[in-house]
């Protein structure tokens, strides 16, 4: 039998393999079109509810609150997008697909990186949707084109970082239910106990202390600064350090778990 048609597994193939897996994951949206609705309608609902329900109470007017809250809601939305990474990897393990991939002469990292590239596409989509709705409701950029693009780049980088963390959760958890449980238990407090929806100064001291060390606060402050035209040097630096640290910890952990999980 001829095996001559198989290309050697080199660096170029890692990229090709990653793209093949990414394409496969994006094709899944077609089988579950509700995913697209979820990715599109949900952020809009969230944005509208927060701004019009809490806006007046928190900031005096919903218009003013929109300016404050949009960057926070954007980061919060993107913090949840990588759940698809976790659930997807978990289901692939349970269905035996990972065994098939691992028995192929392909780069082992391609299965995870392909998943993350696909989720990168979802992340960019969600960012554009949330920001677009924000503009529609009256959000105005104060930081110029450079600031806006910088904010989008930073939030995308944040989303990809969260993908590594969620990949770790998805590979470690035995069932999709426990992926959901752990994911929500960790992500939900991180997004609310941050500067996303309210000024940390208004919170009790112990919570304010937590909010100030929460990596999401740095990312939200940096995004806010870039979008509105405020101070950016410190929060952007902090954010980049956090993202680098989280990736440096969870990417190797996720890959190690991936290799070892039976």
């Amino acid at each position: 039998m001829s095996t001559a048609t198989l290309a050697p597994a080199g660096r170029a193939n890692v990229v090709a393999n990653t793209l093949t897996i990414a394409r496969r994951n994006l094709l899944h949206i077609r089988a579950n079109p509700e995913q697209l609705v979820e990715m599109t309608v949900q952020p809009f609902m969230f944005l509208a509810l927060f701004v019009y329900v809490f806006g007046g109470a928190i900031a005096g007017s919903s218009r003013e609150y929109l300016q404050y809250a949009l960057p926070g809601i954007l980061v919060q939305g993107i913090a949840f997008t990588p759940f698809t990474t976790a659930i997807g990897l978990n289901v692939d393990f349970q269905r035996g697909l990972i065994d098939r991939f691992r028995s192929l002469p392909i780069a082992r990292s391609a299965v995870i990186s392909g998943r993350i590239v696909a989720d990168g596409v979802r992340i960019v989509w969600s960012i554009l949707i949330i920001t677009g709705f924000g503009v529609l409701l009256g959000f105005r950029f104060g930081g110029g084109v450079a600031g806006a693009l910088g904010a989008l780049a930073l939030v995308t980088a944040f989303g990809l970082t969260m993908c590594w963390f969620m990949a770790f959760i998805g590979i470690t958890a035995r069932t999709t239910e426990s992926v959901n449980t752990w994911g929500f238990l960790i992500i939900l407090p991180l997004t609310f106990a941050s500067s996303a929806f309210a000024q940390p100064e208004t919170m009790p001291g112990w919570l304010e202390a937590f909010v100030n060390v929460n990596p999401l606060t740095s990312v939200i402050d940096a995004t806010r600064g870039l979008m509105l035209g405020g101070p950016v040097a410190e929060p952007v630096t902090e954010s980049l350090i956090w993202l680098a640290v989280i990736t440096a910890v969870f990417a190797p952990l996720a890959i190690a778990r991936y290799r070892r999980r039976i």
Partner: protein, 402 residues
């Protein structure tokens, strides 16, 4: 009954040009057949009419024919898959407890054993998915621990559950594997179409796999493991959960692949399957090899003949047992299951004597037979229990079988 299905299916595959009919050589014997006789071993006793023709799946045309045949004969002595003293423990469970085995190239090697015996663990070690704790194994000359990449280039794996992506169509599943294996897009598309046709899935090519029936998923799964034309094909309980018709079709496909020179490592709980397909068998239980050889050797090892009687009146059971026991080799050779008394006998004249004694005792039987032992009896003899009756918990911790 089933034979006509197979014929029909085979004819269709031949008509489409994806399958060629040629003599099947690799099983233990080669018998001459009448001209025009169809290759149907289906439905017959395994000892009869085993070898006919076989399905040769979508090989490059130029490669078929005499060269291939000769090549296979010269390779027959090469050890394709070798394992020595494989040990793998999960916590306290020794899933593999020193497995030795040698599978020759171009044959079907059957790994037989009850649930939890270690079959799946062995397959996972040989496919580089698990590292053994001790021992060594090689596939096509490459070490599974030190040269996993080379091994992966040679193997195709079909696991216990159909590992297909349910949210992709059949074609997309195969196309994806082709691309991952480095085929260019047009080649990958062509290969996918070719395999879908060969596995009778062309009509469902663009349907999502989650809409497939169990048999269709299995076929798609097998097709996926064949995209790279692997030299070594691992089939982990490939027919579990399949209806008889799909099972027969899959057997035909497996024979065809072997006829093309592939080496198949097959695990199964179905003794009949091993008897039909395997050139050599290793029986494992509790992670150890407890018997090895060709199906014929294993049957000979049990020795003698099997005599079975079923009294028409259940109250005659004890008397029937007594009469048959007189011919049994020893205490262990008597086995009663429900109303059926089975003894292993060495004396070929036993049947006649048993008939007379039963008649003298006024016992009417529904069923009385003398035959060679089946692999079931071999299994019973070497493990002390039947596969089907396996009541132990599943030792393989790695899977929740669904």
């Amino acid at each position: 009954m089933t034979g006509s299905h197979r014929n029909h299916q085979l004819d269709r595959l031949v008509d489409r040009g994806w399958v060629e009919v040629k003599p099947f050589r690799s099983k233990n014997t080669t018998r001459e057949r009448g001209a025009g006789e169809r290759p149907v071993s289906v439905g017959a006793h395994p000892d009869h009419a085993e070898n006919g023709n076989s399905l040769a799946l979508s090989q490059p045309r130029g490669k078929l024919g005499g060269d291939n045949e000769r090549e296979r004969e010269t390779k027959v002595t090469i050890s394709a898959i070798e394992a020595e003293g494989l040990v793998k423990t999960f916590g306290k469970v020794r899933a593999l407890d020193g497995i030795d085995m040698v599978a020759r190239e171009g044959t079907v090697f059957g790994l037989l054993g009850p649930n939890g015996a270690g079959k799946t663990t062995a397959i996972r070690v040989l496919s580089t998915l698990l590292r053994p704790d001790a021992g060594r194994a090689s596939v096509g000359g490459y070490d599974v621990v030190r040269q996993p990449k080379q091994v992966r280039r040679l193997i195709g794996l079909t696991g216990q559950y159909a590992a297909v992506d349910e949210l992709l169509s059949g074609h997309e599943n195969l196309y994806m594997i082709g691309r991952l294996l480095g085929l260019r897009a047009p080649q990958a598309r062509a290969r996918a179409a070719e395999l879908l046709e060969a596995f009778d899935l062309a009509d469902a090519a663009s349907k999502l796999a989650k809409a497939y029936s169990g048999g269709m998923r299995r076929r798609l799964d097998l097709a996926a493991s064949l995209v790279g034309r692997p030299r070594f094909l691992y089939l982990d309980e490939p027919t579990t959960g399949l209806d008889p018709k799909s099972r027969l079709a899959l057997w035909g496909m497996i024979r065809g692949l072997v006829a093309d020179g592939a080496t198949v490592l097959l695990t199964t709980q179905y003794l009949e399957e091993a008897d039909r397909l395997a050139d050599e068998i290793v029986v494992i239980d509790h992670g150890r090899v407890i018997a090895a050889g060709t199906p014929e050797q294993l049957k000979t090892r049990v020795g003698g003949q099997v005599l079975q009687a079923r009294p028409a009146d259940p109250s005659d059971l004890a008397a029937t047992e007594r009469i048959l026991a007189a011919f049994a080799g020893g205490e262990d050779d008597i086995y009663t299951d429900g109303q059926l008394v089975t003894v292993t006998v060495d004396d070929r004249s036993a049947l006649g004597q048993v008939v007379r004694r039963l008649d003298d005792a006024g016992i009417v039987v529904d069923d009385l037979s003398l035959r060679r032992p089946s692999l079931d009896e071999v299994f019973l003899a070497v493990t002390g229990h039947l596969t089907q009756d396996e009541s132990e918990p599943d030792h393989d911790p790695q899977r929740s079988r669904t």
